[in-house]
């Protein structure tokens, strides 16, 4: 019974992490309709920045996290301005090819600079080990992830729903022409959103080094997971991807624990079934443009 709760807890932590990693993609893919398979590369960049700062320069872990966010966001905004924005109106095939090319480049570049072995980030002593909570073992690190990601989720929801920027973004996504007619600087909104999403991915990458493992093949290994979160979650709100990542996290952890031999089989089957059943995602609206 206690193992059930521990698994559930781990699954929730895993799901939250996936959400932070993938919510940037929920905007670019789900709302802006840009197939960006290279999203994992931004996460990897953040992870490696944090690893270098913490392991080699002796920065404290919690100072490395914002830097990971900033570095990924910076890379994101540079790439968006230089390359991505030319491709918003192109066909999906072009977008797929372009982002796959970026993935290959990032994988080889990181392999060249950092080596191909898995990288660990030194986490503070206080975060190691478990807390015993009514007989249920709760990992401290995972608890921290749930807290950070939970706060981020609430913050994002508030920004999207309550602030001026949130309504501008929703307007720009719903109808770019009408939005720019109303004086909204649509390219700027998109660039900012893209950079922010990349930053979140970088933060997620830094946080996930301990749980998912960080190596040059990260963008390829977890690409499908990010895509699942967005396509299954749908793009109508931020709650859809959030619930989808929780489901995915819990399902994956439970699957690995209870039917270890089936591996990722369960997840892929569920994904295909859901996509056949509801092509626009579980919580999606019909026809996102």
């Amino acid at each position: 019974m206690t193992s059930l709760f521990t698994n559930l807890f781990d699954g929730v932590a895993y799901g939250m992490l996936l959400f932070v990693l993938a919510c940037g993609l929920a905007v670019t893919l789900g709302l802006m309709n840009f197939v960006n398979l290279a999203h994992g590369s931004f996460a990897m960049a953040g992870g490696y920045v944090c690893a270098v700062l913490v392991n080699q320069h002796g920065w404290p872990f919690f100072a490395g996290l914002p830097l990971a966010f900033a570095a990924s966001a910076l890379i994101g905004v540079v790439l968006e301005r230089a390359l991505y924005r030319h491709l918003y109106s192109r066909s999906h095939l072009d977008q797929v090819l372009f982002s796959v090319g970026l993935v290959f480049m990032s994988v080889a570049a990181v392999d060249y600079i950092m080596g191909s072995s898995r990288v660990f980030i030194k986490i503070p002593q206080a975060l190691e080990g478990q807390i015993d909570f009514f007989g249920v073992g709760i990992g401290r690190y995972r608890l921290m992830i749930i807290v950070i990601c939970g706060l981020l989720t609430v913050g994002l929801q508030l920004v999207l729903a309550r602030t001026r920027f949130g309504s501008r973004l929703r307007a720009a996504v719903d109808d770019p022409r009408a939005a720019s007619g109303l004086g909204i600087n649509v390219p700027q909104v998109f660039a900012f959103t893209f950079a922010f999403g990349c930053g979140l991915a970088g933060l997620g990458g830094a946080l996930s080094a301990e749980i998912l493992g960080l190596d040059p093949y990260f963008p390829l290994k977890f690409m499908i997971y990010f895509l699942i979160v967005v396509t299954v979650g749908g793009s109508s709100s931020i709650t859809g991807p959030f619930l989808a990542s929780l489901l995915l996290g819990i399902g994956d952890v439970a699957g690995k624990y209870y039917v270890p031999k089936m591996g990722p089989f369960v997840i892929y089957t569920i994904m295909i079934v859901i996509l056949i059943w509801r092509p626009n995602g579980l919580f999606g609206r019909t026809a996102a443009r």
């Binding site: 999906h92 090819l97 990032s106 570049a109 092509p279």
Partner: protein, 342 residues
């Protein structure tokens, strides 16, 4: 020429064999005698060309973007390997067809999943199917050999006459013959009314449906045919390398394949073949430059191609050959790739 006859004559003119096409195949055959020490890499190119032909059928003609075409390649590869390993069908040609048929069945079954939904769902479903099969192959390692792959595959002589030699000479001619036969079939298919209807669907599914083309049935048919082609390519892979491992299903294989087709240009069949040659050459050059990191350059090529624009690039490449041909023949133009699917 009267207006009503225009479309039909135009289509028939396109379907006729052009002398540059004959030259292409003679050149391909000549390579076998020009580079007798390079059979292995040339076999690899032929195999890749067949695989690319398969993707071109669905991408270039029907406009289906697939990220998991390696699924059929893998199924073909493992089927051929298992058939040979357990001595079910030892004759390579029969085994090839059998492996192709297994992939066809899979293609037919999964096509119903693929035709549902728009581009993005298709991407996800095709990718998911390939990953699913990879996970399955890993799971049933007692059948597939798991991460070690199928080992100790012994190939019987082709039609009991030609046995595979260690220099890959027989393997090359065998692959080239298969490619040529299947190319003829593909050429017949795309120039038939069926092929023309596929192009109509690619350009505008709604209008195609409005003029009475059964869109879904046509898509299912071409997807199934493409699966057959990919399965044959996979089976050739196993038969000529005597190896089948988990990486036949890998995402990289599907992604590389897209690059091959895109380099050559989609929608005129030769794209896949030319792309395969160029891709292997590039790969060779890059891996001699930086052995471990050739993927970086492949990625760079992809990014540059997309940013420059595929159609513009092909116009530049075809400018030279077209200029030469115009000197001889006013009207003839080397195959011009059609505008790509959106």
């Amino acid at each position: 020429m009267t207006a009503p006859a225009d479309v039909g004559t135009h289509a028939r003119q396109h379907a006729r064999w052009h002398w540059s096409e004959i030259a292409f195949w003679i050149l391909a055959l000549a390579c076998a005698f020009l580079f007798p020490s390079r059979y292995l890499i040339m076999t690899d190119i032929v195999r890749l060309a067949l695989f690319a032909l398969s993707l071109d059928l669905i991408l270039g003609y029907a406009g289906i973007v697939s990220l998991g075409h390696a699924a059929f390649f893998g199924v073909g590869a493992y089927s051929a390997g298992l058939l040979a390993l357990h001595g079910v069908i030892t004759e390579p040609v029969l085994a090839l067809i059998a492996a192709g048929l297994v992939a066809t069945v899979l293609g037919f079954v999964t096509s119903f999943l693929v035709i549902r939904g728009a581009d993005l769902t298709r991407l996800m479903v095709t990718l998911g199917i390939a990953l699913l099969l990879e996970a399955l192959a890993e799971r049933f390692s007692d059948i597939t050999g798991g991460t070690d792959g199928l080992q100790g595959i012994e190939m019987a002589p082709i039609v009991r006459l030609f046995s595979f030699d260690m220099f890959g000479k027989v393997g090359f001619f065998y692959s080239l013959a298969v490619l040529f036969l299947l190319f003829l079939l593909a050429r017949r298919i795309v120039h038939s009314p069926f092929g023309l209807s596929l192009r109509a669907i690619r350009n505008n599914p709604l209008r195609a449906a409005a003029i009475g083309i059964p869109v879904n049935r046509r898509l299912i048919a071409i997807y199934t045919i493409a699966a057959f082609y990919a399965g044959i390519a996979g089976a050739l892979f196993t038969q000529t390398t005597q190896l089948a491992s988990l990486d036949v299903f890998s995402f990289e294989r599907s992604a590389d394949l897209m690059l091959v087709v895109v380099i050559g240009g989609t929608g005129y069949l030769y794209g896949g073949l030319i792309g395969a040659v160029v891709f292997r050459m590039l790969q060779e050059v890059f891996s001699t430059l930086t052995p471990q990191y050739w993927q970086f350059w492949i990625g760079l090529v992809l990014v540059v191609i997309v940013l420059l624009g595929r159609q513009r690039l092909h116009r530049w490449v075809l400018w030279g050959p077209n200029l030469v041909i115009r000197q001889f023949d006013r009207k003839a133009v080397v195959a011009v790739p059609e505008s790509d699917a959106s």
